[in-house]
Symmetry: C2
Subunit: 265 residues, 2 copies
């Protein structure tokens, strides 16, 4: 049976609230996901929350009730609480009626099995958690295996990234690694490292992409470091028709990923 | 000569600060743009700010100094102020060293000359100003003429949208209209209205896009209303390989816009 919690000072409320901070996500090994859509996506991918919090309104939805019951049956904690407290936990003025705390998966690079997908997205030093979530969502849509985060990226388990991923966080594999770790791992098996560059001569629509393809996306401000570009097996250019010389990082990832997929049809 | 301003209570500081709110942007007819990159982009597009604020550090850059001088010569107001005050005005912890207030362009639909570009992006009820700015940036990159905002969209002149546009706000035309105004305007001249739909049978890569093409993008949560889909001359499907059935709105706009452009090569 779910406990009823109406005090902001309740320990579980405080614990869930603390997961908005990376430090606490790390020490707890948990992260937050909000809303029935994402939480149902997680369940369909075989993931139930360790802790689930919901408003009386939220528990009325049959699918929500089912997931709450399944979470408790699996040993999870369930609390029924107020919209005000849900709002405090999620940091949103209009909170979702359902909030789950999930165990963070192991993000070791060695856990990635590159043979399971033709395309992997590799992002370097992405600062915007929204971009990371959006790239995960795009990865799901193009049939990528997952996202490998290189160097100092924003936390893929932040509330903003989970929200932008629309559930793809649960379906895409995620790894984090330094470039110095990634490169030997990449070269230990098959794989084409493909990056975009203003200096490239290959048009992105005419290049030959090979499976598994590792699509390398650079930092929002600086793009890819020259040394990283130099390691690419393929550098392509997305022609720019206007005044700007770059795209938003999540847009560049999507335009490239869809072009790569189209080239394989 | 720029005035030196160090008081938060200064009238110009308060006026610039107020432009973070839509209500004041509307009554003043002004909006904020931050940072040398965007302000230089504006100047290169023939736009100078009515008011420019900068830190002593910011004015050291020769290009910044040139734009400050040009703004004053054109009758604009220039104030030298502190990073703290710049931070308060932009709402950013790490403010840019340069901030300009620009006159909002007329966004009447009648001002759009469809013959000037092969592609126009039409967005319906977009709620996220970051998506609007990102779509403007993408529009610039694909050679679109501009963005037509239908129904209740976020404000394209908000600080977040301007920031995400990376200057494309100054190079892309912007119009706002109700659907009931847009449709007769569209049908008063040549133009193919193209939308994406899960129900479509045409693959987005195999459709025939005609110039001028009006690419219609739906709201982040609901997508396009059925009645709007019904008005489309062409409905296409972006195949989804994973579990999700939709893309981020700015990503969908980019994947479609680049595919349309590629089809014309």
């Amino acid at each position: 049976m779910p406990r009823q919690v109406t005090a902001f000072s309740n320990a579980t409320v405080k614990r869930l609230r603390s997961l908005r901070d990376k430090k606490h996500r790390k020490s707890e090994g948990l992260f937050l996901a909000e809303g029935l859509r994402i939480i149902a996506e997680a369940r369909d991918s075989g993931r139930l929350p360790d802790i689930i919090a919901f408003s009386p309104e939220g528990a009325k939805h049959p699918l929500a009730a089912e997931i709450i019951a399944a979470s408790e049956a699996a040993g999870g904690e369930a609390i029924e609480t107020t919209p005000d407290i849900l709002s405090k936990m999620s940091g949103k003025d209009n909170p979702q009626m359902l909030l789950g705390a999930y165990r963070q998966p192991d993000t070791a690079l060695e856990r990635i099995d590159r043979s399971t997908a033709p395309l992997w997205i590799v992002a370097q030093a992405l600062r915007d958690p929204g971009n990371i979530g959006t790239i995960l969502r795009t990865g799901d849509a193009v049939g990528a295996g997952g996202l490998i985060l290189i160097d100092d990226c924003a936390d893929p388990f932040s509330v903003e990234a989970v929200r932008a991923s629309m559930g793809a966080l649960f379906t895409q594999q995620i790894a984090t690694a330094r470039w110095e770790e990634f490169l030997p791992w990449l070269r230990s098996g098959p794989g084409q490292l493909a990056g975009t560059s203003l200096k490239a001569t290959h048009d992105y629509l005419e290049a030959e992409y090979k499976q598994p393809c590792f699509l390398l996306i650079g930092n929002e401000q600086q793009g890819l470091p020259a040394a990283y570009e130099a390691e690419c097996d393929l550098l392509v250019k997305i022609p720019m028709a206007g005044r700007a010389d770059s795209l938003n990082a999540a847009v560049a990832a999507a335009v490239m990923a869809f072009a790569i997929r189209a080239s394989w049809r």
